[in-house]
């Protein structure tokens, strides 16, 4: 089984445009939407929900106010500034608490315990006979999205194995932190989507470094390359000088806006120039996965 991930250093570069198109072109396939902060891929495919799972992320400390004698040791040992002293009581700020256990250990009154917290949900949905999707929803304010990404990937792999599907397509989380790296570990190939803006180039360099850090094979796609030919050229020069393969360049296409409104992958629009470019990139990537 092969795992293909589509990532971008930053959101908004066209990752969903590309991954929804790849999702439409691949058959059979299991899709894994790892952008758990704001999962969008299923909106494009409208899969029918079949299974739903709770996701328990990190733990949080809770102070039993009856036992607490207000010594303040917990606040002193906490390195995450998660314990506040207000209105004469010590309280845990659940947003800042990383569930590390230090305050539990330090409390002389045994007044603190760790409790498991429900952090989100993940889902298995069926799009049609050939396509399935695993997606998720992280509760706002949760830190453990890397863990949820791992759950999404695990379930997608399991489903692919059960149904004998050869390929899992991962729509990666943006950025370079835990969710992003959780989306690319152990993949067979990574597509990096970028766009020709000066921030796009800056972000591209950081995600390239990240993918290299995890020793994944990868190539770059420049989206809306004709929006700024100068910066596009800069990106191409950077790739050339750094020995990075450019898989293709997608032209700016007003139909993409329409496809987003109509919730239909752009490759399904026959006269789309962006769709045509994506099909060519798709062929190239499929060769690499063989």
């Amino acid at each position: 089984m092969k795992q293909l991930a589509i990532v971008s250093g930053k959101g908004g570069t066209g990752k969903t445009t590309l991954s929804s198109s790849f999702g439409a072109l691949l058959s059979p396939v299991v899709l894994a939407d790892c952008d758990v902060d704001a999962a969008n891929l299923n909106l494009m495919f409208n899969g029918k929900l079949e299974e739903k799972y709770d996701y328990y992320g990190g733990k949080k400390a809770i102070i039993d106010q009856d036992k607490c004698d207000k010594c303040g040791i917990c606040k002193k040992v906490c390195r995450f500034e998660a314990i506040n002293f207000e209105n004469n009581i010590y309280e845990v700020d659940p947003y800042a608490c990383e569930g590390c256990n230090a305050c539990v250990i330090a409390c002389p009154q045994n007044a603190i315990s760790l409790e498991t917290a429900l952090s989100g949900e993940y889902y298995y949905s069926v799009i049609d006979e050939q396509k399935e999707i695993v997606h998720a929803n992280l509760n706002p304010g949760e830190e453990t999205s890397g863990g949820l990404v791992a759950e999404v990937r695990k379930l997608a792999l399991k489903k692919a194995e059960e149904k004998g599907k050869d390929i899992v397509l991962i729509d990666g989380a943006p950025g370079i932190g835990c969710p992003a790296t959780s989306s690319i570990t152990a993949t067979n190939y990574v597509i990096i989507v970028t766009e020709p803006t000066s921030s796009g180039l800056h972000d591209l360099k950081r995600i390239v470094e990240t993918v290299r850090h995890f020793r994944r094979e990868f190539g770059v796609v420049i989206n809306k390359y004709d929006l700024n030919p100068d910066v596009s050229k800069q990106i191409e020069n950077y790739c050339l000088s750094d020995n990075i393969e450019i898989l293709g360049k997608i032209p700016f296409d007003e139909l993409v806006e329409k496809s987003n409104l109509e919730m239909k992958p752009i490759v399904l629009y026959e006269n789309s120039i962006a769709g045509k470019a994506i099909k060519e990139i798709f062929e190239k990537v499929m060769e690499k996965l063989k």
Binding site: G9, K10, G11, G12, T13, T16, D35, D37, A38, N40, L43, G58, K59, V77, R79, F80, E81, Y95, A96, E98, C100, N101, A102, I105, A106, L138, P140, G141, E142, E143, S145, G146, P174, G175, I176, G177, C178, P179, A180, T181, E195, P196, T197, S198, S199, G200, H202, D203, R206, E209, T210, H213, L227, N228, D230, V231, E257, N260, L261, M263
Partner: protein, 282 residues
């Protein structure tokens, strides 16, 4: 006044709004712009920043003295992140899993664990002009979370300026919460599409939960923003500004330019946004 600019998702125009607001407001006020999008900070690309200071952000990593260690395994039991394991011959720390909380050294009965600082990123501080101070955080590649960097950057908030603008990370997870802590107002940047609405509603849930007053900026307005307008009305959140889907604006952005500097009619519009916010924050 402290304002955080967020969006349910990346690419909606957070950087555009942050940099344009910082630029236009600095003509009249003392402003500080902090880029807490530490995985991919971009605001500095739009300005000439005079860097005055850099600061490493460190966490404390445990180091085990394996001669002193009696392999009792208490450290591994205490660690919630699976970052330390006691084998028969040695106790080993897995650096990338360690949160630097200190629990292991607290429980070690023979004091075999000491802690050494490890840099997970840095903070860059400087100024753009006399009225505009700047700061940003940068997470090292391979490090899992930027929350500590954001926290340290926010310690540099200058209480003497009129406006602090914080350009948040995308999404609604922990780093975004960190950028929203102890601020007065949140600007939610969105696009007038179904995706945009979906992501916007996540951001709205978060600010409501944190009880922070908020307003919406619609970016890439193509003339049909009913979707967002209706939602904003239903949620009782004002729309502060609509920025059109305009090739001119997109091009200026792609060149790393602040569009209101080149399209001066926008200066007043951004200034008005601030006036509206002032009216909403008591």
């Amino acid at each position: 006044m402290k304002i955080t600019i967020l969006s349910g998702k990346g690419g909606t125009g957070k950087t555009t709004v942050s940099t344009n607001l910082a630029y236009t407001l600095s003509k009249k006020y003392k402003v500080q712009l902090l880029d807490t999008d530490v995985e991919e900070p971009n605001d500095h690309l739009f300005f000439n920043v005079n860097v005055e200071k850099e600061e490493s952000v460190d966490i404390l990593l445990p180091v085990v003295d394996n001669d002193a260690c009696i392999r009792c395994g208490e450290c591994a039991k205490a660690c919630q992140f699976g970052a330390i394991t006691s084998f028969p011959n040695a106790t080993v720390v897995f650096k990338n899993l360690c949160h630097g909380c200190g629990a292991c050294s607290m429980v070690c009965p023979v004091n075999a664990i000491t802690e050494v600082p490890k840099s997970i990123g840095k903070i860059v501080l400087g100024k753009i002009n006399d009225n505009l101070k700047f700061g940003m955080g940068l997470l090292n590649i391979g490090e899992p979370s930027g929350v500590r960097i954001i926290r340290q950057l926010k310690k540099h908030i200058d209480e003497n300026v009129d406006v602090v603008l914080i350009d948040s990370q995308p999404g609604t997870s922990c780093p975004v919460v960190e950028s929203l802590r102890n601020i007065d107002f949140a600007i939610l940047v969105t696009e007038p599409t179904t995706f945009g609405l979906h992501d916007l509603s996540l951001a709205v849930d978060l600010v409501k939960e944190m009880e922070i007053p908020a307003g919406i900026v619609i970016n890439r307005d193509t003339g049909n923003t009913n979707l967002i307008d209706e939602y904003a009305k239903k949620e009782n959140i004002p729309i502060l500004l609509k920025i059109p889907f305009d090739r001119k604006i997109a091009k200026l952005y792609s060149e790393g330019k602040i569009f209101s500097e080149y399209l001066p009619e926008w200066e007043e519009k951004f200034a008005n946004v601030f006036d509206t916010i002032k009216g909403m924050v008591k």
